[in-house]
Amino acid sequence: MESLEALVAHIQGLSGSPEEVAHLHSLLKQADGDSLRSHAAALVPFLTHLSPEAHSLGYLYLLEACATSGANLGADFLVTVADFLTACSADQIRLAPDKFLNVCRVFKDQVMLLNTPIRGIAPLRAAVRKIQASPEQLTPVHAEYLLLCLLAKQYKAGLSVLEDDIFEVDQPKDLFLYCYYGGMIYIGLKKFPKASELLHNAVTAPMSSLNAIAVEAYKKYILVSLIQNGQVPSFPKYTSATAQRNMKNHAQIYVELSTCYGNGRYTDLETFVESNAAVFQSDNNLGLAKQVLSSMYKRNIQRLTQTYLTLSLEDIARSVQLDTPRDAEMHVLRMIEDGEIHATINQKDGMVSFHEDPEQYKSVEMVEHIDTSIQRLTALSKKLASIDENMACDPAYLLKGGITGDSTTTTSTPFHTSIFEMI
C-alpha cells in the first residue's frame, strides 16, 4: 500500500474535475480497508491538510476510517465531523453514500454517548441535505436527525426535514422510524393532524411481519386520533394483513380506551386512564392519554354547538360534567382562544351563544389558499400519473405481476392494482 502521505497528495491533486474525482475514487477504494483503519489515530493530523469542501471525497474516506476504527479520537473529532458535514461537497460525497452514512451514524452515536444530543442537530440537518438526491428522498440520516431533535427537546428543529414530502424510500426501517419519530415531534408541537398522518403511514405501511415500531406508532395513533377526532378510524383496506390481524392484540388497552371514549362520559374515561396509568406510563404515553382525557370536554362542548344557539353556562357545565358554571366559562373561553369554537359569552345572563363559522370564503386569503391547494393537487395528480406509467413499464413489476398475478399475499399484490383501488 502507498503511504498515507502519497494518498493525501492524491486527494489534494485529484479533487477537481469529475474525471479526476472518479480516478481518485478508484484509488481510495484500493487504499480502503483494515490497513487504513489501523492507522486511524495517525489519520487525524492529515485531515488538517485537507479541505472539507474541496477534497470532500478523500476527506470522507479518511474520516470514515477514523470513525469506524473504534479508536478514541478525542473531543475535537466531533467538531471535525461537524464541520465536515456542514461544509462538504454534496456531489463528491454522494459517490460514497455508504461511507457518508457510516460517518453520520458514528457521529450520532457519539453525541448520544456524551449525552449532548443538541451537538448533532445542526450538522445532521446539513447532512440530510447533502446526501439527499432530491428533497423527496428519505435517507437513514432523517431518523437519526429526528431522534436527536427529540432527545435535545429541539422539536421545532425537526420540522425542517418533516415539512418536505417524502416519496422515495430505500429501507422500510427508515420509513418506520421516520414516521414514528416525526409523529412524536408533531405531537410535542400539538400539530395533531400531521402527527396522525405520519403515524398512520407507519401503521399502514406494507409489512410481512409485525414490527415493534409499527405497534408503538399504532398506540400513539389511537391516542392522537381520539384527541383530534374523538374516534379511531378502522384500518383502511390497503393495510397489510399482518397489521390488521395482530395490531389490536398488541394495543389492547388502547383499543379499550377508544371504546370508553366513544361512550362520551368523562368520569368513566378518567377512571379508565387512572386505572391503566401504569401501562400508559411504561409506554411513555401517559401525557398523551391525559390529553385524550381533557379533549373530551372540548369534544362535548363542540357537540353542543351543533345543537344549541344559546345555552346557559350552568347547563353546559352539567352536560359536559364540569363542576361549576365558572369552569364551563373558562373552558369555553379557552376554546374560543384556540379557535376551536365560535361563541360569545354573555355574563349578564350566564349564557353562551354559539355561532356558525364566520368564514365566508370570500377573502383574498381564502382564494389564495384554495388556489395553492389546487396547484398542489394538480402537481400531485401529475406525479401520480407519471408513476403509474413508469410502473406499468417496469420489467420487474411486469415479471412479478405476471407470475403472482392472483397471489393472495400482501407483499406480492401488484402495487399497480393497489393504486387503482385507492383512487
Binding site: 374560543i336 354573555n346 355574563q347 386569503e365
Partner: protein, 196 residues
C-alpha cells in the same frame, strides 16, 4: 460565541425575530461544542413567550440542566410567566412579570411582552364576550377596576354602572375582498381544464 446579532435585535426591539435567531445560534454553537455559560437563556425563553410559542418555551425550559436553572434567577422568573401562560392563569402572567426586578437587558423586552400580551387578551375578551363584569376585565387585563373600565370605554365598550357590567363593542370585521385578477384567471383555467 458571537452574541452580537442577539444584542442588535434586542437593541432594535425586533423581538419577534429573536426566537428563530436564538434557536439557530444555539444549535450552531452547540455543534462546535462551545460552552454555553454566556448564553442569554432568559432572553431566549422570553423570545418564545413573546411569540406565544408555548411548546417551544416549555421544551426549551425542560432541556436545560438543573444547575443552569438554579444559577439564573432571572431565567426562573421568565419561566414563571411561561407557567402562567401554559396554565391559562391570565392574571398570574401580570403578577409574575411585575414581581421581579428585571436586568437592563430584559426590562424593555418584558414591557413590550406585557404590552402585546395585554393587547392579545383584550382582543380575546372582545371576541369571546358580549357582556362581562368589570372585575373580570380587571382580572384578565391585570389592571385596577378603574383602569380596566377606562381602557374598555376608550375602546368603545359601554358601562352599566348599576351592575358594573360592561357591554362589549364588536369591531366590524374587515375582510379584503378585492380579488387579484391573475388568481381569477388561474381558477378559470383550472375549471376550463376540468370541463374539457
Amino acid at each position: 460565541m458571537d452574541l452580537s446579532a442577539v444584542q442588535t435585535a434586542l437593541a432594535d426591539k425586533s423581538y419577534s425575530a429573536l426566537a428563530p435567531l436564538c434557536d439557530d445560534i444555539l444549535l450552531q454553537a452547540a455543534s462546535r461544542g462551545a460552552t454555553t455559560d454566556e448564553w442569554p437563556y432568559a432572553v431566549h425563553l422570553l423570545a418564545h413567550l413573546y411569540l406565544n410559542d408555548l411548546n417551544s418555551a416549555r421544551f426549551f425550559w425542560k432541556s436545560l440542566p438543573q444547575e443552569v436553572k438554579d444559577a439564573r434567577p432571572e431565567l426562573a422568573a421568565v419561566w414563571r410567566i411561561g407557567q402562567c401562560l401554559w396554565n391559562r392563569d391570565y392574571a398570574g402572567v401580570y403578577t409574575a412579570a411585575q414581581g421581579f426586578e428585571w436586568g437592563t437587558d430584559l426590562a424593555d423586552f418584558i414591557t413590550s411582552f406585557l404590552e402585546s400580551y395585554r393587547k392579545r387578551i383584550f382582543q380575546l375578551l372582545t371576541s369571546a364576550y358580549s357582556t362581562i363584569i368589570v372585575a373580570d376585565v380587571a382580572h384578565f387585563m391585570g389592571m385596577s377596576e378603574e383602569d380596566a373600565t377606562n381602557y374598555a370605554v376608550q375602546n368603545g365598550w359601554s358601562l352599566d354602572a348599576a351592575t358594573n357590567m360592561l357591554t362589549v363593542k364588536k369591531p366590524k370585521a374587515q375582510t379584503n375582498q378585492k380579488l387579484d385578477a391573475s388568481k381569477l384567471q388561474r381558477l378559470t383555467e383550472c375549471v376550463f381544464h376540468l370541463e374539457h
